[in-house]
Symmetry: C2
Subunit: 653 residues, 2 copies
């Protein structure tokens, strides 16, 4: 017999919701976002239990506490929220409450006119004495005095004169402040990562700084990027994401359109990092200097923008690490270093890192320090390239350490791989994640996938960031239908979830693919691009309206409030997003078909909108202006791809 | 940066099935019963993984291992079983396999006629060298030599002469035996409690030894119980369960029919334990001595029966503990000891124990020693009275300690309370549990409840034991319909699950209730009962047939193989139990209505029976003899409460 505690556990506390299944997994919140916690707590015997939720910043010794509410079948519910960014913890504490149990029994005996009430009253007096002692220890001397006086009353007066005091709220309020928790049980502790609101609500604009001026004949620099920043700002974006800005390797540099041999003047892929000019702490000389970059970060900040860097752990054969730390790479039998491959394919311009090499501790230290280097230079968001090809445990350590230094730093996982890995990266701490949205086309696919992300267990740890395109991906559905398809996909990305992003050129409806592929022709990854940033037919105005509506409507800034509504037409998708208090209610109706007009009745779940089933209400279109008087659940819409192909309604009464 | 392991974790292993949600919860198995374990295991990069399930008896350092099978989406499946009773552990270990990955890459490069194959072959040779070293360490010197020779070949011969050897099964078989697990990751460890088969398959017969002879005028003794044992044996029972056999208290002893004042000669309730004759280590003198009891245990054993004792932690005011350890009870303000109550109700013949008193460690020690005392006297099964009114942690410690001393000891929880507590007692180790079966009457209720127990997560930790009656419960449905209702309820209890039991008198269809209550009139709890154990109208023959069929049909001895089939008639319930290999297939059809004949088509799910949808098969009735030639899913039945009210079919081809 070896009980583990000073007293044996008295309460079983289990079946937590949410629960991610492992003690190192992190539930995500943004600052002040409430978290509802459910747990079963039960004990033996016929007693009254008290259960509370308690939470604190990891490392603190004191807890904030709040009582949990009993529900059916031993289930309890409590709510907490976290006022600052960082790692937090919560737990549930529960005990059989001797005062409440005594009080209930005293009342029952009083009602039954029990002859032993005087003894019972004396037992109550003892509980008051003990509570008085706890009150005094807690510094509440007036409560303590009051309790001692009441205890004295309980010992002196007949039960008939006591019952109102005993059952009264005044006494109960004091007793609740100083309960006897000496036999309480505390549950396991859950971890929460709390981040600033941008972790949940963000609009990203990706561009290659070397193409900032849109001149194919000239490599732009950081100093040339202000116009791009201003343009992104006017479209309503708040995060500017740059592909890697580091020196680009020369050995085995790729040519235009990913050819194996670079011609003179070919600029190479920014993801082949490292040259004689330095590695992950340096910048490509053609872009300028670290100081130039810092200047640009400051310029962005003044505009209310922030610059996100790409953290790509790819080393070109010319990276300084190769000479300084050959042990960090995979050695081959002939003494050479193993380049990346997926046999029979070879990627000779990239040397993968051996994360489990003998010297792994100094390797991990260095990579974490690289991130901290850029954090010190003002970068607070990192888009992480292919995190799924590096150890999950590495990211867990890196994110924890960086956020311990600066909890405002956010990480976006660019993992397009199997579901468990994508989920796992979210569970150990990535703030946001790329998703399969890019390939979800039909109403059924979109509904199912958006529900999986925002309504299932993933909502606790995985914040999907929706991108209609990336430098690597020009999906089929954008290749053939021009601006209407770009608008549909932008609207879906921007409105289904609170974080979305585009890779530049999207606003110009660029849609020339490599023949038969879902990739761009003349990919910007391998060349400086010429562009007219205000080319005719652009959809910058539409994007601006989308982002403005997101800024103006709190409901569009939340993640797990997505609700699909029925529409019999298989090309019309209908969803609402409302705030929990119904103070802001948005309703989105989109014709997914970029070619043909679609008309149908939409069938709203009125309860989800906080409306009576027969309510009359106004829907105001935030994109196209105007609006309608609607009544009840069934209302008619007609959506023309060449005009109002969608409605973004605000519901007003 | 503070990684916890010598190397950082390389594989994420999670989402276990089964999983009970807390590290101290025990998955249940009986000896040699297979356990299928599922888990997700994934890692970074394009490698081939190996994953294995490993298990051992708790405390052992060596593991038994078996490879897990990859399924879709990083899920793996493995199977283990446990050859002896006791606590076992299992875990999953997984790693990126350098040999298999190299082999796949070599093949791809070979097929692509890669010019660097010679270097690759040398890298393979290095892997063979390393494997040879592991083989030698493991004492497999001939394998080691063979591998070194092959390594030499790989270094010397051209790839074209190597490919068959490299891809061959011979080499693979050796390599699999000595994999490089230096970078493997092992999951959390799961606990299993393995018990003898009786934990799953048992038939209980409860009788009061003081009424063994059926003479109201005479208190029977242990020495008078042989006829009862023989009768129970002939009915096919294997566990004889006695209510508490200890000295019965005198103070506040209850009279017949639970009256507050006992008359002279009233024998009292066996659950009010303790008198001047002793406490939980003593026996009621009117029953005999501890030696008499041990003699009876031996007689039972010779008959293939075992005797289960009631472990009821109730102390009468006369229990020796009251004087010796007043601190183990709840003290009142007037110095008296608090009796049991549920205000305003009082139970003055019982003093409840204070499990969290100051001296709790010696209290728990003593109670565990009481159980061990009876274990030493040959008792290997305990029916625990009201475990839900004592701390769950107490039972956890008690069961662990008793089973560590003797893993053959089984515990049946008599908890009729809210679901979480009943489940919790199962999770921490009770071998079997009472259930709500007693009050589940309709086809819908029975189906839903039996499915909940045997098909949901409860099947991993909760073995329901079905009782149609107990000394406390004579349910309404047994009070008015005579023998047919007793037969229906016996058949349901005996066939839905592999453990069932009756309280004696059931076989005589005793059904006199306290008016308006679900309790027995003249309850045997408070008096010695007179009975004709062979009274006319008894159903002993039917019970014998039920238990015989259970003995003869392995499918009826399993717990989680229950499958309900459709029948349009709402009084006809249809279920099958088959062995996983279909070597034994039973099909049960019962008319729940004890008054009227019911006829209908039953609709079988043929796949669940291992039958083709149009199969022709024979169903042989194990209760009534005879049988039918059936074909396909739909077949006719007609069930008469006065005759063949049910079929217990064995399916034969």
């Amino acid at each position: 017999m070896e009980p583990k505690h000073a007293h044996a556990p008295t309460v079983t506390i289990e079946n937590f919701h949410p629960s991610l299944g492992a003690s190192n997994y992190l539930i995500k919140r943004v600052i002040d976002e409430p978290l509802d916690v459910y747990a079963d707590a039960f004990t033996d015997g016929h007693i009254i239990m008290c259960t509370l939720l308690k939470w604190h910043k990891a490392g603190d010794t004191r807890w904030t506490e709040s009582p949990m509410r009993p529900m059916e079948n031993d289930r309890w519910q409590g709510r907490c929220s976290f006022p600052s960014a960082g790692r937090w913890e919560y737990a549930v504490e529960s005990w059989a409450d001797s005062w409440l149990t005594w009080r209930k029994h005293f009342k029952a005996k009083f009602d039954a006119n029990d002859p032993e009430l005087r003894i019972e009253a004396r037992e109550g007096a003892k509980l008051l004495d003990q509570t008085a002692r706890r009150a005094r220890t807690a510094g509440a001397s007036s409560s303590s005095t009051e309790l001692l006086e009441l205890a004295d009353m309980l010992r002196r007066l007949p039960p008939g004169e006591l019952i109102d005091v005993i059952m009264g709220d005044d006494l109960q309020l004091i007793m609740e402040r100083f309960p006897d928790r000496s036999l309480s049980t505390t549950s396991e502790v859950f971890q929460v990562v709390v981040e600033r609101e941008r972790a949940r609500f963000s609009a990203w604009y990706e561009f290659f700084p070397r193409s900032a001026e849109g001149r194919a004949d000239r490599h732009s620099t950081f100093r040339d990027c202000l116009a791009r920043l201003d343009d992104a700002k006017s479209m309503g974006f708040d995060v500017i994401y740059f592909p890697p800005i580091h020196p680009i390797g020369v050995t085995h540099r790729k040519g235009k359109n990913n050819t194996l041999v670079a011609l003179s003047g070919d600029v190479g892929s920014p993801w082949a990092i490292g040259s004689a000019h330095g590695g992950h702490r340096a910048v490509e000389p053609a872009l300028g200097t670290v100081e130039d970059f810092e200047w640009l970060v400051g310029e962005a900040r003044q505009r209310g923008l922030e610059i996100a860097l790409d953290f790509a752990i790819n080393c070109s054969p010319d990276h300084p690490y190769v000479k300084e730390h050959p042990g960090w790479f995979h050695q081959r039998e002939d003494g050479s270093i193993r380049y990346a491959e997926n046999p029979p394919k070879k990627y000779q311009d990239i040397y993968p890192i051996n994360f489990h090499c003998e010297d792994w501790k100094s390797l991990w230290r260095e990579l974490i320090d690289v991130v901290l280097f850029w954090v010190e230079r003002g970068v607070k968001i990192f888009r992480v390239d292919n995190p799924h090809t590096k150890p999950v445990s590495f990211w867990e350590v890196l994110i924890a350490e960086v956020q311990a230094k600066d909890p405002d730093v956010l990480f976006l996982a660019e993992a397009f791989t199997k579901p468990r890995m994508m989920q796992g990266l979210g569970k150990i701490g990535f703030s946001q994640s790329y998703t399969y949205f890019t390939w979800r086309e039909s109403k059924h696919e979109l509904t199912e996938y958006a529900n999986e992300l925002t309504q299932g267990d993933m909502r606790w740890y995985y914040r999907g960031n929706f991108w209609p395109n990336t430098p690597d991906i020009l999906p089929h559905h954008l290749q053939h239908a021009g601006a209407p398809s770009f608008k549909v996909r932008a609207a879906l990305a921007a409105l289904l979830v609170p974080s979305w992003g585009i890779y530049s050129g999207y606003e110009l409806c660029e849609n020339q693919p490599l023949p038969g592929r879902e990739e761009y022709l003349d990919s910007e990854k391998y060349e400086v691009k010429g562009r007219d940033w205000n080319a005719p037919g652009n959809i910058k105005g539409f994007i601006r309206e989308l982002n403005r509506a997101r800024q103006d409507n709190r409901a569009l800034q939340l993640y797990d409030n997505l609700k699909f509504h029925h529409c019999g037409h298989d090309q019309i998708i209908v969803f609402s997003k409302v705030t929990p208090d119904f103070s802001n209610r948005t309703l989105v109706v989109i014709n997914l078909n970029p070619h043909d007009t679609a008309s149908a009745m939409v069938e709203l779940e009125m309860g989800a909108l906080g409306l009576a089933h027969d309510a009359t209400y106004r829907v105001r279109d935030l994109i196209h202006g105007g609006g309608y008087q609607w009544q009840g659940a069934s209302n008619f819409v007609s959506l023309d791809p060449r005009g109002a192909f969608m409605h973004l309604f605000r519901i007003e009464l």
